[in-house]
């Protein structure tokens, strides 16, 4: 099995090389039988956020498989006309498996995948699949339920500041999961949301954090990339949570815990599947139990009862006894969305575009 898949790889490479005779592959750098894995990034690897974590995942592949794989990445690829060309170029230059790591790459990925049926594609955070296109994402909202619980117990002002990037379902879902968990332990607590309309601009994130603290928030959480908000929290003596990676280096006291995007296990598993010849198109939406949504441990200031409550939620999510979107859930207007005993299904979660009760502000319609 292993042997044949490598053979077919080599043969396909020959075919592609013959088809575009002028295609040049620098022979010195690449060994012919290594599996080639390509990554398309939306930001620079130095963003210390979303793209940075995907690149850590890429490095994990290299570490795990050594000479058996070769990885390539293209960074800061705009989600416009350029995406299709970059993805196609990766496919036509002998890459066997291509990860496209931002929502905006969905349509270009699907389009290129149709032209390259032998290449396997993995698109992050989208909803369109094909015979050779998988989708994957993390249930980061599960992590938000854990930190929401902690925030609800630890806030003294009953005001939580939430710095958000863009009003997309992923972010709205996080805000709602956080709010629901928070109000389970503290019905009086409320969330203030500020949209900064950027994924990373450390200055603006810091401004938003200060604004929220000035409005009475004593816990800050964020759905933007940089550690700037946590730095402000540290300086102003309030608390916060790390986003995407462990940010305790930037806020040793203020970081209560962090929600870490850990793509390593998934990336390794998918590469292994291609090597084994068992790769199939799948839809992965993995949560805490898979390790894709991870925690680096608690900060030194977290009291034991908060730790215990957070652990109950975390373990409950893993064993299925706790669902972040279990009814009863009301929307901002106080209307019942789902009754007690039921949970919102994945389809509803995927397209979530309303706030639940307890969140202040409005979403664009």
């Amino acid at each position: 099995m292993f042997e044949t898949s490598l053979l077919s790889n080599a043969r396909r490479k020959l075919l592609i090389a013959a088809a575009s005779a002028a295609l040049v592959l620098p022979a010195a750098v690449q060994s012919q039988d290594a599996l080639k894995v390509g990554f398309v990034y939306v930001g620079p690897v130095g963003d210390h956020g979303w793209t940075y974590r995907h690149d850590i995942g890429r490095q994990a592949i290299e570490e795990k498989f050594g000479d058996a794989v070769e990885t390539t990445f293209v960074e800061s690829v705009p989600e416009g006309a350029d995406a299709e060309r970059v993805i196609r170029k990766l496919a036509s230059s002998g890459h066997d498996l291509i990860f496209t790591t931002s929502f905006g790459y969905m349509n270009p990925t699907v389009k290129v995948a149709k032209q390259f049926p032998d290449v396997k594609f993995e698109h992050a955070t989208g909803y369109k699949r094909g015979d050779n296109v998988s989708t994957y994402s993390g249930r980061f909202y599960e992590g938000r339920a854990v930190i929401g619980t902690m925030a609800g117990m630890m806030t003294k002002t009953n005001t939580i500041g939430y710095i958000a990037s863009f009003p997309i379902p992923e972010v709205v879902r996080g805000i709602n999961a956080f709010s629901l968990a928070m109000r389970k332990v503290n019905p009086d607590a409320e969330i203030k949301v500020i949209w900064v309309n950027t994924w990373y601009d450390p200055g603006k994130e810091a401004d938003a954090a200060k604004t929220l603290i000035d409005q009475g928030a004593d816990i800050i959480t964020q759905h933007t990339d940089s550690p700037a908000a946590l730095q402000v929290a540290e300086e102003r003596g309030v608390m916060g949570f790390g986003q995407a990676s462990d940010m305790s280096a930037f806020a040793p006291k203020a970081q209560l815990t962090a929600i870490v995007d850990d793509w390593d296990p998934y990336y390794i598993e998918r590469v292994q599947a291609v090597l084994d010849g068992t790769w199939e198109s799948t839809d992965t939406w993995a949560g805490i139990d898979s390790g894709m949504v991870a925690f680096p441990g608690y900060g030194s200031d977290v009291p034991d009862d908060v730790k215990a409550a957070a652990e109950v939620v975390r373990e409950g999510i893993i064993d299925g006894s706790f669902h972040p979107f279990a009814g009863p859930i009301k929307n901002q207007a106080g209307e019942m969305i789902i009754a007690e005993g039921e949970v919102l299904d994945d389809g509803v979660l995927l397209g979530m575009d309303y706030y639940v009760e307890g969140v202040q502000g409005a979403l664009p319609k």
Binding site: P44, V45, G46, D47, H48, Y52, G161, P167, K192, V193, I194, W195, V196, N197, T198, Y200, D201, P202, G203, K204, E205, A206, D207, A208, K210, T211, L212, I213, D214, Q215, D225, S226, P227, A228, Q231, E235, S245, A249, F250, Q360, G361, A362, L363, P364
Partner: protein, 309 residues
């Protein structure tokens, strides 16, 4: 010392947001008043930001890091000056190319700095004065760069209006041919003005990576260099108005964040338009006084000069 009131806290946030704009814009103002248009502010800021952060990470000395940040901006400005003043390349295009170059260079230099933490520039509390209620925290508890930005404005203003060198600078910017005929060294003056602009942009960048959000991430200026360029036009090339423009822009930015925080029911994208729209409206009001615009706009801006006789 009592806790500062909310309005003071809001003002402090505005000061932080405006300070990099003040530095970058005042530097560009001097550059432009000598007749040179350098659109590479963003690139110079990024190089300033990364070089000062690298320096403080390696040597641990904040004063040295600020100097290195300035030097980083100046090296970029020197490159720009060499191309446009010595080799007469197009200023507009070279400035834009400088931004592309600076973005790449800073990312390259900063590769090892991702995830590195720094505590931020220390705050210098001015003795006695910083203890005053309201005024103390508002004016006398800042880091050195904020004070520097405040002192820079009157200094540049006096330099332009009262000093001989400032007179020469303005003469060169208004008509290089007449200035040359009067015996002034046009190219040399423009080099100095360009380097000053680079030093200020470098400091603006250093403020971002050392004080505003003490860290290095790629592209962390996030367009502030462009805002600074717009502010010079907005200020009609007058130092005092640079300060006003930067605080107005910063102020509206922070106020719209507060508006969101208290739950104003307007989509955030529309709220975020406010600083830009306000800037346009105020510019229109300022432009109504055409005499002022004509008096201050450097007439020879963007034009190449080569002494022919």
């Amino acid at each position: 010392m009592s806790d500062p009131s909310t309005s003071v806290l809001i003002a402090l946030t505005v000061i932080t947001a405006a300070t990099p704009l003040v530095f970058a814009a005042i530097g560009e103002l001097i550059t432009e008043r000598s007749g040179v248009l350098n659109l590479g502010v963003e690139g110079m800021m990024l190089v300033g930001a990364v070089s000062s952060f690298l320096c403080v990470h390696v040597y641990g000395s904040a004063p040295l890091a600020l100097l290195v940040g300035m030097a980083g901006g100046m090296v970029m400005a020197l490159l720009f000056g060499f191309l446009t003043l010595s080799l007469q390349a197009s200023q507009v295009a070279t400035g834009l190319a400088l931004t592309i170059f600076g973005t790449g260079l800073s990312a390259l230099v900063g590769q090892s700095l991702i995830g590195v933490a720094y505590g931020g520039l220390p705050k210098l509390h001015i003795p006695v004065l910083s203890e005053l209620p309201t005024v103390g925290p508002l004016l006398f508890q800042h880091d050195v760069l904020v004070y520097a930005s405040w002192l820079l404005i009157p200094a540049v203003s006096i330099f332009l209006k009262r000093s001989r060198a400032g007179l020469v600078l303005r003469a060169v910017g208004d008509s290089h041919d007449s200035a040359h005929a009067l015996g002034y060294r046009v190219i040399r003056v423009r080099y100095f003005a360009t380097l000053f602009g680079g030093a200020c942009s470098g400091l603006a960048g250093a403020y971002l990576s050392m004080a505003y959000a003490p860290m290095w991430v790629e592209n962390m200026t996030a367009g502030r260099g462009w805002i600074a360029l717009a502010l010079v036009v907005f200020a009609v090339w007058q130092p005092g108005w640079v300060l006003f423009g930067a605080y107005l822009f910063g102020g509206i930015t922070i106020l719209q964040l507060h508006g969101q925080g208290i739950g104003i029911n307007v989509p955030s994208q529309l709220m975020s338009m406010l600083p830009y729209v306000t800037t346009i409206i105020v510019l229109v009001l300022i432009s109504l006084n055409q005499g002022r615009v004509r008096r201050n706009a450097p007439a020879a801006i963007g034009q190449a000069f080569h002494p022919t006789t």
